[in-house]
């Protein structure tokens, strides 16, 4: 394994920055940039030192550093953490110096990957850490932490136990036909199926909500051209600092930013304006907009409050059918409200709406409140999150349970009914490892008096 380094803190103006080095050559690098004998450095102690360029020997910064000896480090390898002065320049210079001293630049997520590869954490936990470093709200962190504490495994374990309990009933009938075991109670079995299916459905639903919540709800600002979408977009960004730099849309037809709306990290899209057109380029833009709307959780639809002829069009109806959360924003109130309020209210029915001036930042905070309310409505307070991999496995498990249920309802014989159930257990084994066969037998012996 090579030795790698990376700046661990975000780029930009800050008082301090942290640069990390990990890998087998860490001690060698330590020697080259600090001119210190690594054998005289005690692990896990803070040292203050000048940091030199390994070739030019020029002093780059005065820093503090901590050395961790393998395996007692984050990655499980020798590791060095350097706390330097912040800003754009110094950390970069230090990184360059370390690379000169023999390290490679780390790939994104490499430190956690090494932690995983060195057996410090399992896959579930690795996925969680990845999410933790991306999570930026308090509730997001607590969801991820709950996974670290194996909350998911526990919940999943409960479902697995119920499946084993059901399998046990069938297996006992198969393996002990001459043992005076009471026949299967169909109603009891149905109950067990229903409970498993319901629990799994909830588990998947909540887990997926959690995942979406971690990634942040997506908000699309859309509406006709010149209704003030970009102004509103900027208005939403202004008070809270965006944490990821601007990502231009591939076809330059939209931009998006990660934005805090109150406590929640969201991703806001500023889409291309909708206008009846014959121009090809714009048509592509509209298609993109439709795609964004498709993926978004909340649609902020903008109308011009200062235009007399403004009215709701088919667009809103379309959105309602897609079961998106919609907020209608009447913009440009700084120019006076000229729309027919009564009529619009009638047309809007139960759709939320708000009057703002994006330009003068009027009522933007109220809009934020509204967005937060919608977020809570969609996601509730998720307790945990499932990664896509976990989600996929759970959905497969659910399909198998349903298949078994169908076979049971058709009164197929036990060895057929139980087949998908056992397949589901071996799938679940990928998430939480236990010896399923022994557990089934154990359950049989616990529950039935069998054997001669």
């Amino acid at each position: 394994m090579s030795t790698v380094c990376a700046i661990a803190t975000p780029h930009g103006i800050s008082a301090l920055a942290i640069i990390r080095v990990t890998g087998p050559d860490t001690k060698e690098i330590l020697k080259k940039i600090f001119f210190k004998n690594p054998s005289e450095i005690s692990p896990k102690r803070i040292y203050r030192s000048f940091l030199y360029h390994p070739e030019t020997k020029e002093i780059l910064d005065e820093v503090t550093f901590v050395f961790y000896r393998e395996p007692e480090s984050y990655t499980g390898e020798d590791m060095l953490e350097i706390i330097s002065h912040g800003g754009y320049i110094v950390p970069r210079l230090i990184e360059e110096a370390i690379i000169k001293a023999g390290a490679d630049p780390a790939l994104p997520g490499e430190f956690t990957k090494r932690r995983f590869l060195n057996g410090k954490i399992d896959l579930l936990q690795a996925e969680s850490i990845n999410e933790i470093s991306r999570a930026t709200t308090k509730s997001a962190v607590s969801i991820t932490l709950s996974k670290l504490k194996r909350d998911v495994s526990k919940r999943f374990g409960v479902i697995q136990d119920e499946i084993i309990d059901l399998v046990k009933d069938f297996e006992a009938i198969i393996d002990f036909p001459e043992e005076d075991i009471p026949p299967l109670d169909d109603r009891e079995i149905m109950k067990k199926y229903n409970s498993i299916i319901k629990k799994l459905e909830n588990f998947i639903e909540e887990g997926e909500k959690g995942r979406k919540f971690l990634k942040g709800p997506k908000i699309a600002i859309c509406g006709k051209t010149n209704v003030g979408k970009s102004t509103l977009f900027n208005a939403l960004l202004e008070r809270e600092r965006a944490i990821v730099s601007e990502i231009p849309g591939t076809t330059r037809d939209y931009i998006s930013e990660e934005v805090f709306i109150k406590e929640v990290l969201t991703k806001v899209f500023d889409t291309a304006g909708i206008r009846k057109t014959k121009g090809k380029v714009e048509k592509i833009g509209i298609k993109k907009t439709e795609q964004i709307i498709e993926q978004s959780d909340i649609i902020v639809y903008m109308l011009d409050a200062s235009s007399k002829n403004e009215k709701l069009d088919g667009f809103i109806k379309n959105l309602k059918e897609k079961e998106k959360e919609i907020i209608v924003v009447f913009n440009k109130i700084d120019r006076g409200i000229k729309i027919d309020r009564k009529k619009l209210k009638r047309d809007l029915k139960d759709i939320s709406f708000i009057f703002v001036s994006a330009k003068e930042r009027k009522n933007i905070d109220k809009l934020r409140n509204l967005i937060e309310q919608k977020t809570m409505k969609i996601f509730g307070e998720p307790h945990f999150s499932l990664s896509e991999r976990e989600s996929r496995i759970c959905v497969k498990v659910l399909t198998l349970i349903r298949e078994s249920f169908t076979s049971f309802s058709k009164k197929l014989s036990e060895e057929i009914v139980v087949l998908p159930l056992k397949e589901s257990l071996s799938l679940m084994n990928d998430l939480i490892g236990i010896d399923v066969e022994d557990k089934i037998l154990e359950k049989i012996f616990e529950n039935f008096c069998v054997g001669k």
Partner: protein, 614 residues
């Protein structure tokens, strides 16, 4: 004296092992404590039952003797689980205990290449590989391979109530030196317990108070040679214990060897003594007992389900509470027996010990229980002893090929903490491992090793051809909806193939006769056609899964692997892998607690290593 193979012990494992090796042409010596007790049934006078019948049929397909032996000496045959699908049908037979062992003895005594010696082995002479054995009567016999099939005889101790004495079986001496001599080269020896029920005088039973259990008509046979048998069948009976029985059992807890610490070893959960049943399930109002005749003309009745460690006086008290048995006279009391076993994790999946080349273990000494489990291991060990001497690839039955494979893999991978009994739930490919297709799964091996003769194999292939052609025909031939409706009311399209029709839940092969007159197949082949068509989809699904696992099975784990240096393994996985020492990734994946991610990590490590070694 010099032999190729020495088999130590003449029980069900020893019989199959010595017959297999001698029939494969190896000069074989069977050493037993008593010639007249070869193939003795120590416990129930019965063969087969759920999952065990599958084992017997597998022994048969490989060219073993057990199936033939019970077909000739059985006195009642019943197919169990017929209300469920054919994958879990299992044949069970009552044996005539005396005739069973006598017939097997005749086969053994008349087998070419096979000698029998009455003696006791006290030591296996080794030098990293087997050189021979030493006996208590001072014999030193040379051999290239040895198979230990000691059953419950190694340091056996019998408990009847508070009385305990050394014995291998009631009325027979134990083997004393052998397990100590195995400890010397470092074999891990443990202790297990099992039990058996009282045998009572037939004329002392009041059968009016018992329910009759009759055999099937016509009875099926175990061997592929006997789809059906022509035999006069005896009857068995059923009785139940009651509250009075349970009161006695419960009140005398303080003099029960099982509860006062006299018996320390672990007994099988699936074979609980009456005291275990009563203590563990106090809410159960009655427990089922079978009264099984010990033989056709025998005056002994075996009370199946009443195994106990209580003393004779209490056994009488227990019997008195059951109306049919209120006057029962005990001939042999029920008893518990403790014995030495060798941790089967010390074996390769072909039953050879990892420590000493050419030394094989089979049967109860590996921690199993049951005649069928023993016999299946016996034939595998016998075959492999010869393959070892011939320096050929060992013979391993895959988990997807047979219950025998499942059992041996379970034993050598996970070890045992109670006597191991076969259950269908242990097999992940239950739909494939049926008693009706044992020959399809395993007979080609029996033929290859010379244990199945040419004419029998040819006959099997011919029958197979008939079945295949018939299945093909049913899949091709279409009938109109009106015709199909005559067979069963269902939603049919315009036309339907006969196979599709047969696949419906309540349609039998013979129902097709109504609309489709064709040549008549023998009934056991009709059954095969029906089973294979009905199960086809599920079989395909399981085969696909089996194939996936086979890939893992082929990935060998290097013997010198240092799990410390495998990145990405959890601490727990590392510990377990070090302890269990799996041979390949498939085996590793079946160790309790090993996860898919651990297997992936191992796979990466092994692949990278083999690349960097190139």
């Amino acid at each position: 004296m010099k032999y190729d193979v020495i088999v130590i012990g003449g029980g069900h494992a020893g019989c199959e092992a010595s017959l297999a090796s001698s029939r494969m042409g190896a000069k074989t010596l069977l050493i037993t404590l008593r010639k007249d007790r070869i193939a003795q049934m120590s416990c129930n006078p019965s063969i087969g039952g759920i999952a065990k019948a599958q084992l017997v049929k597998e022994i048969d397909a490989l060219g073993g003797e057990m199936a033939k032996n019970i077909d000739e000496t059985g006195i009642q045959f019943r197919l169990l689980n017929t209300k469920k699908g054919p994958a879990v049908w299992s044949l069970r037979a009552q044996a005539d205990r005396v005739l069973y062992r006598k017939r097997m003895q005749e086969i053994i005594f008349s087998q070419k290449n096979l000698d029998v010696l009455e003696d006791e082995v006290i030591e296996i002479i080794t030098d990293k590989e087997v050189k021979g054995v030493l006996t208590t009567r001072g014999r030193k016999i040379e051999a290239g391979a040895a198979i230990v099939t000691g059953g419950t005889f190694l340091n056996g101790v019998i408990h009847v109530g508070l009385i305990q004495f050394r014995a291998g079986r009631m009325g027979e001496f134990p083997s004393k030196g052998l397990s100590n001599s195995l400890r010397k080269p470092g074999f891990k020896i443990g202790r297990l317990k099992t039990g058996t029920s009282p045998r009572v005088l037939k004329s002392s039973i009041d059968f009016k108070e018992a329910q009759i259990v009759e055999g099937d008509n016509p009875p099926r046979g175990f061997s592929f040679r006997n789809p059906f048998l022509n035999v006069n069948q005896e009857i068995c009976w059923m009785v139940y214990t009651n509250q009075k029985t349970h009161k006695i059992v419960d009140e005398l807890r303080e003099i029960c060897p099982l509860f006062i610490g006299q018996i320390k070893s672990i007994g099988p959960r699936y074979c609980p003594s009456i005291e275990a049943k009563v203590f563990n399930f106090p809410e159960k109002e009655r427990h089922l007992l079978f009264l099984e005749p010990d033989g056709r003309d025998s005056d002994i009745i075996y009370i199946s389900g009443l195994s106990t460690s209580y003393g004779v006086d209490i056994q009488y008290k227990i019997l008195r509470t059951i109306p049919a048995l209120h006057n029962a006279e005990i001939l042999v009391p029920g008893y518990a027996i403790e014995y030495d076993f060798s941790d089967p994790r010390q074996l390769y999946p072909w039953l050879e010990s990892k420590k000493i080349r050419g030394l094989f273990f089979a049967g109860q000494i590996n921690g199993t229980s049951g005649y069928e489990e023993a016999g299946a291991q016996g034939i595998v060990a016998g075959i492999n002893a010869v393959l070892y001497l011939d320096k050929k690839e060992p013979f391993v039955i895959k988990r997807s090929e047979g219950y025998t494979g499942v059992m041996i893999d379970d034993l050598v991978t996970k070890g045992v903490d109670e006597p191991y009994r076969m259950f269908t739930s242990r097999a992940e490919y239950r739909i494939i491992l049926r008693q009706d297709n044992a020959c399809e799964r395993l007979m080609h091996y029996g033929y290859k090793f010379g244990l199945i003769n040419e004419s029998e194999y040819k006959k099997f292939l011919e029958e197979r051809k008939i079945v295949d052609e018939e299945i093909e025909r049913l899949k091709k031939q279409r009938i109109k909806r009106e015709a199909a409706l005559k067979v069963i009311k269902d939603n049919f399209k315009e036309s339907v193939t006969l196979a599709e029709l047969l696949r419906r839940a309540n349609v039998k092969y013979d129902d097709l006769k109504k609309i489709n007159k064709d040549k008549e197949l023998p009934s056991h082949l009709k059954e095969k056609v029906e089973i294979e068509i009905k199960y086809e989809g599920f079989v395909k699904r399981q085969l696909k899964e089996a194939k996936h696992f086979e890939k893992l099975e082929k990935k060998k784990i290097p013997e010198d692997i240092d799990y410390e240096s495998v990145p990405n393994l959890s601490y727990e996985a590392r510990e377990k892998l070090r302890k269990y020492k799996p041979l390949n990734l498939g085996q590793a994946s079946r160790i309790p607690g090993i996860r898919a991610t651990d297997i992936t990590a191992l796979l990466f490590y092994i692949e990278n290593r083999s690349i960097s070694n190139k």
